[in-house]
């Protein structure tokens, strides 16, 4: 059994908040660079150039890449041999989030009551925390802050099994095209196929932290990722949604077994500021 003190988790989560807000991951920067070389619209090339400049300024000056520093969404892999001392894991993550957002001067974007009062909590908490129980003695915490603009473009399609591959392709392409400039393209497309309605949505969002260029291990799903990407990039939406040939940087499909009667398909989009950071203990 490995024991991890509450305070250590608070400290590491605080650091994750800052890294995610200021440092765009290298795979995203590379994908944006290659997009800038491929883009056929002059306006699109100018936008991609500015996106790369923005990432450099944010990193060098420790200014948030985007003012929407997001809902703090955490994916936790909790080893069966790990225990947290001095408090709960949930409390530690929330406390780390509160400190990270306050000390990094990141925007508090959470309201406590969703419908009526809509008053800002001014701490950016509560965080949204998804825990998977895994074997072993490691604790891995990934923070993927999610901005409202891309979050609002999430869609769930409860397809019929007979809709098949064409139905999935259509769902993904339609989601990106209808979203237009709202989710800050070029986007990353996460597609969750299978499970149940709620499991598919989580799967599609978690897919967004997969490194760009890494494909699904199964050949047919990897091919589906490539055909979704090709079709999305023919849509003309382009950088910023003002027209161009690069609408998405990558597509990640994730799958789960599902009921004999269902074919749930969820599509989550990440903006080009595809921020995430991981710590493993």
């Amino acid at each position: 059994m490995k024991t991890i003190p509450f305070k250590k988790i608070v400290h590491l989560v605080r650091a994750l908040c800052l890294t995610a807000a200021f440092d765009l991951p290298p795979d995203i920067v590379r994908a944006l660079g290659s997009a800038a070389r491929k883009e056929s619209s002059p306006g699109g090339r100018r936008m991609l150039g500015r996106i790369l400049d923005n990432a450099r300024v944010a990193r060098a000056q420790r200014v948030p890449i985007c003012q929407d520093t997001g809902v703090a969404v955490f994916y936790v892999d909790l080893g069966g041999e790990v225990r947290v001392s001095g408090g709960t894991l949930t409390d530690a993550i929330n406390e780390g989030t509160r400190r990270g957002y306050a000390e990094g001067f990141l925007r508090p974007s959470m309201v406590s009551d969703p419908l009526f009062a809509r008053k800002n909590t001014f701490t950016n908490t509560p965080a949204v925390i998804h825990v998977s129980c895994v074997r072993g003695t490691t604790l891995s915490i990934t923070l993927a802050p999610k901005g409202g603009g891309s979050e609002n473009m999430t869609r769930l399609f409860m397809l019929k099994p007979s809709d098949g591959e064409a139905g999935v392709l259509d769902a993904a392409v339609q989601t990106v095209v209808m979203a237009g400039g709202n989710p800050c393209p070029p986007v990353i497309v996460g597609v969750g196929i299978g499970g149940t309605a709620e499991a598919a949505v989580l799967l599609s969002k978690k897919a967004l932290v997969r490194p760009i260029g890494k494909h699904h291990p199964h050949k047919r799903y990897a091919a589906l990722e490539k055909s979704i990407l090709a079709k999305v990039n023919k849509s003309g939406v382009g950088p910023g949604g003002l027209g161009g040939s690069v609408t998405a940087l990558g597509v990640a499909v994730e799958t789960l077994p599902c009921h004999i009667a269902t074919l749930p398909v969820a599509v989550s989009l990440s903006c080009h500021a595809a921020r995430h950071a991981t710590v493993t203990l």
Binding site: A58, C66, Q67, F105, S109, C184, G238, G241, G243
Partner: protein, 188 residues
């Protein structure tokens, strides 16, 4: 490359300037613009519904849909890119009709009702780069709260901006780069 071609705009905008702008034009804005997003729009709308005046005069002015990060107390730096404009669509036609607002900066397409109101009221909609918060924040030289301080990042700020880059996305004749741009590059 864009520097020579961008049109320099200094608000308040006159009717003639608004009418001269065409979808696709690159502009750089220098002067004062005002922030307002979801919660401030809701309050504006409630005031107008009650037949009252807004706490600021928007005639000829530009509203920027943004909720900046808190400024770093040491460096003064902060991030301030555009938010999705369509969330303001429900409030915009009345705001254009009742206040004389001349311009809006945001990201993403607008509703048919907003575009109709823009044509009737001679208004222009600019797209700023979504996700360029650090670069756009650096164009802001000073910021002060005008009203609704309790809303935190959703308060109304007067921002003094220099060479703030934007693109005319929808002009006062209803030409729309969010439609014509993707159509031009689509090969579906």
């Amino acid at each position: 490359m864009t520097k020579e071609r961008a049109l320099r705009l200094c608000p308040p905008l006159t009717r003639d300037i608004v009418l001269s702008l065409a979808a696709g034009d690159e502009v750089e804005i220098t002067g004062t613009i005002f922030t307002a997003r979801d919660a401030a729009h809701k309050r504006f709308d409630a005031l107008l519904t009650a037949g009252r005046k807004l706490p600021l005069d928007l005639r000829g002015q530009i509203l920027y849909y943004t909720g900046p990060t808190p400024p770093h107390p040491g460096t003064g730096r902060f991030s301030a890119g555009p938010t999705t404009s369509s969330r303001m669509d429900a409030y915009t036609p009345r705001l254009l009709a009742d206040t004389g607002l001349a311009g809006m900066i945001g990201k993403g397409n607008r509703s048919a009702a907003v575009i109709d109101a823009m044509i009737r009221r001679n208004a222009v909609y600019f797209a700023a780069g979504g996700g360029l918060g650090a670069l756009l924040g650096a164009c802001v030289k000073a910021a002060r709260v005008v009203c609704y301080k309790d809303l935190g990042p959703e308060a109304v700020y007067a921002l003094s901006v220099e060479n703030f880059p934007a693109t005319v996305a929808i002009d006062s004749r209803g030409n729309n780069l969010y439609v014509s741009g993707p159509t031009r590059f689509s090969s579906l």
